[in-house]
Amino acid sequence: MQTGKSTECSLGWLNPIADDGDELHFCSTCAFSDACLSVGYGKGELMALHCLVEHVGPYRTGAHVFRTGNPFRAIYAVRAGTVKTCVVDKDGREQVLGFYLPGEVIGLNAIYPDQFPCDAVALEAAQFCRFSFPAMSALATRMPALQAHLFRLLSKELGTATFLAADHSADERMAAFLLDLGDRYRARGFSGTHFRLSMARGDIANYLRLAAETVSRVIGRFRNQGLIDIHGRSVTLLNCQGLRELAKDENYAAG
């Protein structure tokens, strides 16, 4: 590289990574951490669960983690990066199903069909913990807390589609989308008001069933109204109460 150029750059919130675990401790952001720790499992059980985990990645931007029709072997917890899941119809039109952040789990919707019913695509360099599902199921029969947690994750996954199906305005959808992302980042220990929108404008538009111009227009209006601040992909929620009033729905979680 060039002389005199510093290579020390901390990425911080620009690239949240759930990577503080070891063989006895889950990453603090992991979807499974509180499931096991809160009920006081001992060293043996934790090590058994850790044995299921395989670190995979990094996947480059645009790379597929799995594709529709691939046999279901494992679920994936996002360690770093953002992932979108989508299906492509017979005319080649893509429909974005959801976005997954560090600490969240993809692949749960493959359990019944035993094959992946959608594509999962990395939106930026992404890394995962891969949990072998047969082994996890076996372990869950011995670890009720793990089983209960799996049920919780599944039930949450089922609830996400309802908001988008209902009749909401562009402002409502966008406000709900931003609040939901904030809540999810906060739940994983990251800032819930200052985060990066890693998904393309087209993907957000597709997910929210809006035109791309509308996404920009609404975000631009939110900025002018002082509800948010945005520089490139870095967004700050300045007035969450105002956004909540716009989203109108207590149950704004949009996925």
Binding site: Q2, T3, G4, K5, S6, T7, E8, C9, S10, L11, G12, W13, L14, L197, A200, R201, G202, D203, I204, A212, E213, V215, S216, I219, G220, R223, I230, G232, R233, V235
Partner: protein, 466 residues
């Protein structure tokens, strides 16, 4: 302390001591760092990514018109001298192709907020040709003939009349930049540019009458046969013309790089002390006439949008110097034009043969460029803060860019401390401030943060800092 509050201090001895070769930081990294590994595909990827931001940046288009009717001997630009307007048609055909290739790369809902025609001599194009280019831009970009926009053009008043200027206004132009350089007849003869005050006034009056929002003029100091008395008379005329902005550029005599400059007698050039005194005179006279010093070569009336942008801290560097619309993605069209898309720079072929060959083959004429890494982005931001606003809050900057400023820039701060001992900057625990003395040496201050300057071979490519 903000830059608009403080009067810059003109210290000739200090400036002479800091008169080293250095970049102007219209970009960072600067053009010598651009490389051929950045291709048409890299540019397309950058354009795609720029469309995919949640709120894509507005667009700024630069169009390079490389033709001139007559050679000015000081010129260091890429240009072709001809009296035949039809000579431009071959080039315009390629330019139209480039517009048709470049336009569709950008989502149509991105407004064309800024437009700049530079040269060469943009008014080499007569009205029918200019109209055709504008109509091509209208077909491919979200062009606005009315409403909020900054559409500017560089005009050589020797080849433009009032009607031409008012017709340009109907095409959407609302900013004008007029070359003067010097009104002293002896200097004009030595640089082969004979231009009367009346010609200049006609263009500026027409611009005002047809609603142009801001008019700028260019002067050059350090030209052959230039004297303080002669330059004083030029400054009298300039103040009388009352443009909104004045740029006072230093002439860089590099005849080995720029062929036209071989016509200039080195013996007729003012000595370094006179050079400095010439700039000092411009500085003093323009200040007295109510112009604010923006930085580098630029002065503006207090109510001009450039001064307002500096007060509001929205001022940015761009290829034209300073800009009020720094947040745009810049699309450079024409030979040698530079684009800035997202965190990339790219430059078109600098020779007509390469430019035209690429377009004849159906390709965008990208010759070189650079994708900025995080280090480049952070340094560009630091340089921009210092050059545009004269101060940098290290804690705020560190928070914004997620870095430990004193640790990451330990070596840079040591270099700044040397300049602090000369009174160019001050530094406390939180803030770096450019002083009144340092404001005329912004390039030197910015150079502290340039990671590429340690390569000794680069220094010969840059003109002197003052």
């Amino acid at each position: 302390m903000r830059t608009h509050d403080i009067l810059p201090e003109f210290d000739a001895a200090l400036i002479a001591r800091y008169d080293v070769a250095g970049p102007r930081y219209t970009s960072y990294p600067t053009a010598p760092q651009f490389h051929a590994g950045f291709t048409e595909d890299s540019l397309k990827a950058a354009a795609l990514a720029s469309n995919e931001e949640p709120v894509p940046r507005p667009l700024s288009v630069y169009v390079h018109v490389p033709f001139c009717f007559s050679p000015c001997f000081y010129c260091g630009c890429m240009r072709v001298i001809t009296r035949e307007v039809s000579k431009a048609d071959h080039y315009l055909e390629r330019l139209h192709r480039e517009i048709a290739l470049a336009g569709p790369m950008f989502d149509r809902d991105r407004p064309l907020q800024q437009l700049h025609f530079g040269g060469g001599t943009p008014n080499f194009l007569d009205l029918p040709r200019m109209t055709a280019v504008i109509e091509a831009l209208e077909r491919q970009f979200n062009y606005r003939r009315h409403g909020e926009r900054e559409y500017g053009i560089e005009i050589d008043p020797r080849f433009a009349d009032g009607r031409y200027i008012s017709e340009l206004a109907t095409l959407g132009f609302n900013r004008i930049s007029v070359g003067i350089q010097d009104f002293d007849p002896a200097v004009q003869a030595a640089v082969n540019r004979i231009q009367s005050v009346e010609q200049t006034r006609e263009v500026l009056d027409a611009a005002r009458a047809s609603g142009y929002g801001s008019a700028s003029v260019d002067l050059i100091y350090g030209l052959p046969r230039q004297t303080l008395d002669g330059f004083d008379r030029t400054l009298d005329e300039v103040v009388g013309l009352s443009p909104d902005r004045v740029a006072v550029y230093g002439y860089a005599h590099l005849p080995n790089l720029f062929k036209a400059q071989k016509h200039i007698e080195a013996a007729e050039l003012p000595d370094p002390a006179t050079r400095l005194a010439l700039f000092g005179r411009a500085f003093q006279r323009l200040r007295q006439a109510g112009y604010l010093y923006i930085g580098m070569d630029h002065f503006a009336k207090a109510d001009d949008e450039l001064s307002q942008a500096q007060r509001k801290r929205t001022l940015q560097r761009n290829f034209q110097g300073y800009s009020t619309h720094g947040e745009c993605d810049i699309v450079g069209l024409g030979v040698s034009a530079i684009s800035r898309i997202g965190d990339s720079y790219s430059q078109n072929a600098r020779d007509l043969i390469g430019y035209e060959a690429a377009l004849d083959a159906g390709r965008l004429p990208i010759a070189r460029g650079i994708q900025l890494d995080r280090d480049d982005i952070v340094r560009r931001a630091a340089i921009s803060e210092l050059m545009c606003h004269g101060e940098l809050d290290m804690a705020e900057f560190g928070e914004k860019h997620q870095l430990d400023f004193p640790r990451m820039f330990a070596a840079e701060l040591l270099r700044l401390d040397e300049q602090a001992s000369d009174g160019l900057v001050t530094r406390d625990e939180t803030t770096i401030r450019v002083t009144a003395r340092g404001r005329l040496l912004l390039r030197n201050v910015a150079m502290c943060f340039d990671a590429y300057l340690n390569q000794p071979s680069e220094s010969a490519r840059y003109s002197r800092t003052i």
